[in-house]
Amino acid sequence: MKARVHVMLKNGVLDPQGAAIQHALGSLGFSGVEAVRQGKVIELDLADGTTEATIAQMCDKLLANVVIESYKIEVL
């Protein structure tokens, strides 16, 4: 089985990289880009039957820093 973990900075945590991307899109002439947030996607190949709870533990212990990041698990 495969799972995909989306890690994003929590709402309210300033994202200077997202702000820089927004600025660069504006420089390229794309108007109306009101906000950009940058995160990361981690794809996992897992043994069949791995539970979402186990994947959540992986996120809490390593894949995300829950002080500043939130995550979303997508089982594929």
Partner: protein, 222 residues
Amino acid sequence: MRAAVVVFPGSNCDRDMAVALKAAGADVQMVWHKDAALPDGLDLIAVPGGFSFGDYLRCGAIAAQSPICQAVVAHVNRGGYALGVCNGFQVLTETGLLPGALMRNAGLKFICKDVGLTVATSDSAFTEGYHAGDVVSFPVAHHDGSYTADAETLATLQGEDRIAFTYASNPNGSLGDIAGVLSENRRVLGMMPHPERAVDAGHGGTDGQALFGGLLGQLTNA
């Protein structure tokens, strides 16, 4: 005082840290990240700067899961002292031994320069060689040094006098100009600036000597 310096793949300030500790009079050993135990009778563990594990995933995240870091956590939980500088500070926040997190600098650039720091408290073994309000100069060299924490954590740090150093002129967007914080028992210090790179006249300044000297004085008498 018996001290040890952790070496991860990608550490690059480990020897500077050892030199600074030895110059202050400490007996220093190096410990490898795969070691599962620290030397017996250790007073201080230092987690040095660098780019442990290539900063993969997040700065300090992989190092924080290494066998030696489990031993560092146990050492701190026993009441041992720990000093994390730069990447070492990032590692200590990733282990949960210090609150908050270090994010990409607000200006997105790697910053490498001397900065002025205000000693925010002299109430710790690390800062008792200074007076609160002293302004010192240490180098910084980081890409991810913007300290952040939630409002409740910041209030706790302020209320418990656990902010050790603040930037005189904030270079990286850190919350509250915070450059270094102490643990609840005041025995763990994490800071982004490099005191170990300011201990010899050849470094261009010796403001870091008081940190290592004060630490030696405190831990040798303990």
